[in-house]
Amino acid sequence: MEPVTVTICMGTACVVMDGSRLVLLEEHLPERLRGLVRIRGERCLDLCTRRSAALAPFVLVDGEPLANATFESIVLRIEERLAGRA
């Protein structure tokens, strides 16, 4: 199965809004998702300006923006994606 792609924003606004630790996502994936997720970094997703820095950190899950991202909300979104494909 094509893995789900998670793009983590490493731009200034997202990083200071506690997004920097999101690069450790791999370690926070539950066992059942291992190998099903591809993690990438992006310099700035440009959502901080187009939407609002108050909603940072941002990530994209298969290209879909997720605001106020946390490990939990990212995992949830990945599972939704996988469920949707099945």
């Binding site: 924003c9 490493m10 731009g11 200034t12 990083v15 920097s20 690069v23 310099r43 700035c44 108050a54």
Partner: protein
């Protein structure tokens, strides 16, 4: 620091990629180790930059034997030579005074300190005065150039001699000075009973340069000293010192940071990346997005080494390094201030690139990033321009770099 607000300002025309303010220059550096077990080296390599950097005088002095006594002799010799030069006494005269005044060992009839003085000018005029050290090497286009030496003697010098050479250097020339700790390294070992020898040491320098023609003076000196230490079996049998004088084109680094104030200039700003003659660094997420769009290039982030303090670096064709903006630059400022990089991250990589360059041209986009002004952010982000000015000032004062600032 040259702050050419008029030239590259938001409404001005853009500044040239390589500036006429940046002529050829003389890079001098050295590396040395004390004889095994000693704290002080009896070799000394000192340089002085004169006439606003148009002339550099370097001295390598090697005090007889090793330890404190040798260190004092070498230090007196080197400082005398540089003091004379500072007093505007011609180098030839200074060398002769040294020959006159150096104490001589009564048994061996040799000076208590040997010395080599190189007087190099940025226009290429070079004079070398040698007494007792291994002959200097002149390396041009990857090969040794033999020097024509005039041998001077005086009745009061006994059988001691001063060898003088005078020549016109070309851009790219390196002059290599070694103490006998380099050329005689390994002496008495089964592998090198007679020591490494001058021809072998020279061949080694040439081979390293053939592999990496852009070696910095510091690195080449380090390589020669390391190799000599290796010959000695890991414990220096004598003080080992190497100094290198390199006349070369300056290495220019362009730092592109910040989106241009006027979007209409995005293309012109992005085009800086492909101007030849310098290396490039990009700092800032929005900035890298603009370049990626205008140049139609991928920006690939490397998440292999996550760092708690500084966001990971990215790569883009034609650019040495792409980093996040404000946080990384603030960290670069801190590292330069502290004089050390305690961690390996995008900021330390940028510091390395800055220090490897002679001239740093900051191309600063002045658009305000509205997202950074958002009161929701838990930290206050410094204005890019201020951070850059601080970095430029540190580079100028602490590291003797030339910096240029242009605004877009």
């Amino acid at each position: 620091m040259v702050d050419d607000m008029n030239e590259g300002g938001p409404r001005g025309r853009c500044a040239p990629a390589t500036s006429p303010l940046v002529p050829d220059f003389i890079e001098v550096d050295h590396f040395g180790l004390a004889c095994g077990g000693e704290h002080l080296s009896g070799d000394l390599f000192h340089s002085r930059s004169l006439e606003e950097g148009n002339r550099v005088v370097s001295v390598l002095a090697d005090g007889l034997s090793s330890g404190v006594e040798a260190a004092v002799l070498a230090s007196v010799t080197a400082s005398m030579a540089l003091e004379y030069v500072e007093w505007n006494i011609d180098t030839a005269k200074a060398a002769a005074i040294l020959m006159d005044s150096l104490p001589v060992d009564p048994v061996r009839r040799i000076s208590y300190s040997t010395f080599t003085i190189v007087d190099a000018r940025r226009d290429g005029r070079t004079r070398i005065f040698e007494h007792g050290n291994p002959p200097v090497l002149l390396i041009r286009d990857g090969a040794l150039v033999p020097l024509e030496r005039t041998v001077l003697g005086q009745p009061r010098w006994g059988n001691r001699r001063l060898r003088v050479s005078e020549f016109q250097s070309s851009v790219g020339d390196r002059i290599v000075l070694c103490s006998d700790g380099v050329t005689q390294s390994g002496m008495g070992t089964p592998a090198l009973p007679l020591g490494w020898g001058e021809p072998e040491a020279a061949a080694y320098a040439l081979s390293r340069l053939a592999r990496s023609p852009d070696l910095s003076s510091r690195r080449l000196a380090e390589l020669l000293v390391d190799r000599a230490l290796w010959n000695d079996g890991g414990a220096a049998g004598d003080d080992i010192t190497c100094g290198i004088i390199h006349l070369r084109r300056p290495r220019v680094l362009q730092v592109l940071t910040g989106p241009p104030f006027d979007r209409a200039r995005d293309r012109e700003f992005a085009a800086l990346v492909d101007r030849p003659g310098s290396r490039k660094v990009v700092c800032g997420g929005t900035t890298s997005n603009i370049l990626a769009r205008e140049l139609n290039r991928e920006v690939e982030m490397d998440l292999a080494l996550p760092d708690r303090e500084v966001p990971a670096p990215s790569a883009m064709a034609g650019v040495e390094l792409v980093t996040e903006g404000c946080l990384t630059l603030a960290k670069v400022g801190q590292y330069l201030e502290a004089g050390a990089c305690p961690r390996r991250n995008a900021a330390s990589r940028l510091v390395e690139l800055l220090l490897e360059s002679d001239v740093i041209h900051f191309q600063v986009g002045t658009a305000v990033n509205e997202a950074h002004q958002d009161p929701a952010l838990p930290v206050e982000l410094d204005i890019r321009r201020n951070v850059i000015k601080r970095i430029a000032a540190l580079l100028e004062t602490r590291h003797l770099k030339k910096t240029l600032l242009s605004y877009y």
